[in-house]
Symmetry: D2
Subunit: 383 residues, 4 copies
């Protein structure tokens, strides 16, 4: 089959690779109809990880079941399904606790697996024609047959739940005020999720105009951090007060004011968002941190950053009695409910999708998405 293959930093290609097969009785093979490019794919694409050439990318996958193993019980050939980016077994201790992003079965020696991602297990990515899905009864979320809501449903694989996870980690409740740092796809989904959950005020901090415009279009207040300190701007808008909750949808590649829209190591200040959140969130508040931080970053700005050690204003955090919660999203905790919001028309997350292209156009889309060119915010590949 055809698939997007990583060749070297800043280069992917569409190539022929082996077709996936049923390797275990609980597997299914899914014919991919939509597979998104994720911001975290860019970490590998840019050479900021240990990913080796040859890896097939794609962890945001959706399609139709083509074949099922002998043990698959409820999912059937022909079912339209979307898969969480986390591969999970459903029966290890972490899965039983709802922490399907930290499954200990699917990636031996580590807590957590994913499709097409370095260090996340043997699972081939889905920016391809077909995908092997293990534990298919557990990992395939059924969707209504047909083609309706294709783009919105595709976002159920990762960014809609991951944004929602930010709101959940921060414990956002009706009537609260929230500051979301980052207006990339996850930040926008986080802001959107806060509004779905009934937040009264949502501030979204970024410095890319198109992204801030999208934030404003859904009812959030855009804050451009190139203009002035985002903490000061938010406090001024709130009469001197900070906010109840904060969400970090940026992660370790955070950049300082005035940096280029694309980012780049020269502009990175990996602890800047965390310390701004500690500053802007009111005492007794909470921080939800879905933005990625890594224990090993070959391109880190200094030796500490390279091993994931960040200087945090912990005295201030303690004095305020803040809480913080981190980690990648356990997609299965949210994907059925978010699907039902899409079906009922209460949620339309696909406003964030800027481009839908064929698999062959994938390599070009990587280039443009990485450079934030032409308004590339979120790209879906249709094999």
């Amino acid at each position: 089959m055809r698939a997007v293959v990583y060749k070297e930093p800043f280069k992917v290609a569409v190539e022929n690779v082996a077709d996936p097969k049923i390797l275990h009785p609980n597997d299914a093979i899914v014919r991919i109809t939509s597979s998104c490019i994720c911001g975290s794919d860019l970490h590998m694409y840019e050479g900021r990880t240990a990913a080796q050439p040859g890896i097939v990318f794609g962890h945001e996958n959706m399609g139709v079941i083509e074949e099922v193993g002998a043990a698959v019980k409820e999912r059937k050939v022909g079912d339209r399904v979307v898969m969480p980016f986390n591969v999970a077994c459903g029966f290890c201790n972490n899965c039983l606790g709802g922490f399907t992003g930290f499954c200990t079965t699917v990636n031996p020696g580590f807590a957590g697996g994913a499709y097409g991602y370095v260090s996340m297990g043997p699972w081939v990515g889905g920016q391809a024609e077909f995908l092997q899905v293990p534990f298919a009864d557990f990992n395939c979320l059924p969707l209504p047959a047909g083609t309706e809501h294709e783009a919105a449903f595709a976002l159920l694989a990762d960014i809609f739940p991951t944004g929602y996870h930010g709101a959940e980690l921060a414990g956002v409740k009706p009537g609260e005020s929230v500051a979301v740092f980052g207006a990339g796809p996850v930040g926008l989904m986080a802001a959107y999720s806060c509004l779905i959950r009934g937040a009264a005020e949502v501030y979204v901090v970024d410095h890319v105009k198109e992204r801030l415009d999208m934030a404003e279009s859904i009812g959030a207040t855009p804050i451009n951090y190139d203009t002035a300190s985002p903490v000061d701007q938010i406090k001024e808008l709130r009469g001197g007060s900070g906010v109840d909750k904060g969400i970090d949808a940026v992660g370790y590649q955070a950049t300082k004011a005035g940096s280029s829209a694309v980012g780049g190591e020269q502009d990175e200040v990996p602890n800047i968002v965390l310390n701004q959140l500690i500053d802007v969130v009111n005492p007794t508040g909470a921080l939800g941190i879905p933005g990625l931080y890594v224990p090993s970053d070959p391109g880190g700005v200094d030796a500490n950053a390279a091993r994931g050690a960040l200087s945090l204003n912990f005295g201030q955090l303690f004095e305020k009695g803040l809480k913080l919660a981190t980690g990648q999203c356990n997609v299965k905790q949210y994907n059925a409910q978010l699907r039902d919001l899409i079906i009922s028309g209460k949620a339309k997350p696909d406003f964030v999708v800027s481009h839908e292209v064929s698999l062959d156009e994938g390599p070009d889309a990587y280039v443009k998405f990485d450079r934030r060119e032409d308004g590339y915010t979120k790209v879906i590949l249709h094999p």
Copy 2:
């Protein structure tokens, strides 16, 4: 001062009564700008309680502080405030647990106090020019100065939080489906609150056209129980399935299909809504019951109803593993957050207000509201 006084069943009058005074250093006197008539006032008005003539009605009160006692610390003369219908101390065990509707200080020998309500303590009602508010720092919720959002803020005294309480008691979460029985003001606020909290589908059951229309206007699905079994209608719309959660916003004066819009004892079937909820909610679901049930009802349809004993399908409830939660709203748990939703423009609960009249028009409003005439859904008196 002038006040709405209960004279006898089906009769209230505006009369001169004694002005309230600061009786305790923590008291405040509030000049009332808005005081709503509540559906529960009608229980007294209709003679369905032990209320004696002479009682001043009014527990949904809002206004401006006119005077404060020597111990009041944060609230000042001139503050615009709205008071929860529950009078509460803030320091008894129940208040400390957030159960301000069950304060043991303000109504000795009973858990819970309110303004202008039979058996709820010595607190005079606020359908009047002035109101004595005890524990003013605790009981007065500050509002932005001015006159903006007057009607919406007035609903913070009772029905908006009480509707929200229904959603909270049922544990309504984003993406869920909910059946709300009753499209009176509390039912509409419950449905509205479910939507604010991110429910995917909300069904509202009633048989008054204007009320069902209002439910539809906010994005809920109206179900007319005169047409067919509401349980069957909802299950049919959902492809045979019930709903995740249910809310009873009707209470003990529930009526059967085909009864008159006004209700009346001849049509009452006090357990009908509860058993329909047990039927329509899916296994593992939950029922939130803000609708009033009483341990003593002089007008009960039979001896059991008169002592608040109802026949419930408990075997079915158990087999489904349902939860249920009851009781009057602890307004302080929600009123600040709901106020902030109104200020930010995210909530506009005053769609439910059908009439705003002067205090002198109060007696006429009672007659029409009780008869559901002229589209009377929710009335605010402006003294």
Copy 3:
């Protein structure tokens, strides 16, 4: 293999039945080392259900894995395991929500399955030499190899988690006071669980001396309901106050004061415990109801009881703002943690085990357990 087979009301026999086989790739066959007789087996034994002759009893099963299907991944031949009485798939909506007692996969058309129980699916019971366990990775809880803690671990199949479930349904927290109705095995485990969770005061209501003595031995206060109203007794001991929480570990076969120790339809008052709980629990409190109530009881004391309709003091319940939660235990929510408490020596639930006998002695044990003869409280069969 040899198994305990139901013959007719009040009669079981040990007979040869077909050996279980791997029918699905996710199955395992477990060689049973311990299988308990449950109080709910007596419902079938006494003819109070629709159970037909020929059914093999036994849903509290423990043993060693003898064989695994091709799809079983983590569980191995030779593993010592205990199975929840609920059969569950791990991937249906209810299982994903933690409600493994309401699995919709294993018993089509119904929410919930179990081994060896009428209406709970095709699963053969484990009072036998071997047991077929579906979805073995999900349903088998691994235990330390060897024979240590055999009796305590066997209780992890049902009554220890079920008692704990009562405490969870009531939301028992450290420092609280609790009334537990019923000192049978589940009631004792509920009381024990409340103490493990840090309850300050636990009252246990029964009228069988041996059972009340056991309650006292673990630090609870025994209340004999034959002596006087249990509500009055508890309130007197607490200086007039009720309790924070209540647990019903009795269910629909509740009996009035002065009834025989064995029970029997002539003494049954199916709503008595529920109404006593409503009376004894303080306003704002909660009731946990693991005790069984059924929607259809052929032997019900009257027509209402026969269809599971009970008269509850609902007005009083509402006035107090009580919550209640029901349903059979989702064993997997608790069994790993309770296992770890047994391993660490912090929990020793086997104080409740009165008899351990061979499979052949099973029929005799049924007779005595049903009659509460010879101190029969909890029996374990060892095939």
Copy 4:
């Protein structure tokens, strides 16, 4: 009256100071019967804060009400009471949310007040004969009359709730494993609280033999961090696995292995405990941090420590999906329940009390407690 007055670093004296008076109608004056010396008093005593000479120490106060202001409603002269170390109003937003340690009323411009503590408001300490208590109905927890449980009740002012707070911040649940760093009074109370809440395994890390012995005596496993890495020791005891939860009861004056028992700046490594917790807690786990961290430490080991900035292994923390929660204890969230555990005999926290002395012996006790001489673990002064 006589009181313990701070004179200069490492020196306090008992002196005559002005008697407290009723300054506000909600005040009470309490005659002190017990007032403990807290480890956090030593921060001031050692000159590690901005505390000025003349301050009266004492925030762990208990006694009998001597006088009440005109507005005090439920508390009476003669009531035996214990006061949370946090002074709180009961009606500000933070108090309403249960965050009484972050009251915005009692210490203008800051969230949180306390008796006798630098920067925590105008409230005079209680290591004295009398104490002014504001908002007496809210701040005085009533106790049974008499002298029983005097030492145990005195611990309700701070360390028992603060230790419990650690368990709550970490979300410790029945059956879990926990690592508690620090076996001072708060660490011991944290370990004790974990056991009360049903933890299966509790490891307590310290290097003072008497303290580790106390930990062992209550059923915890002592870990001496002078012997080897505490992380390695715990993982070895658990067969290679870490723990479910961690509690930091040490704070910013954490010391490295081999440091003197007394501590001292030369041995301090302020981030060592936090990073060890990140290492020892399993993925999906949580850290409760009641141990004090400050935004400004004049004696900090370097410029970063002096402003409360610590280097945390945040990449590792994120990869594991850990949560952490911080801040001083909101004593009122727990003190009534913990009191009830003491009354019922289920909790006996006074095992931690090593010395009870007169007020005049206070200065000598400060010297010995600061040096950890003569087994000084927890001292109560009886004026």
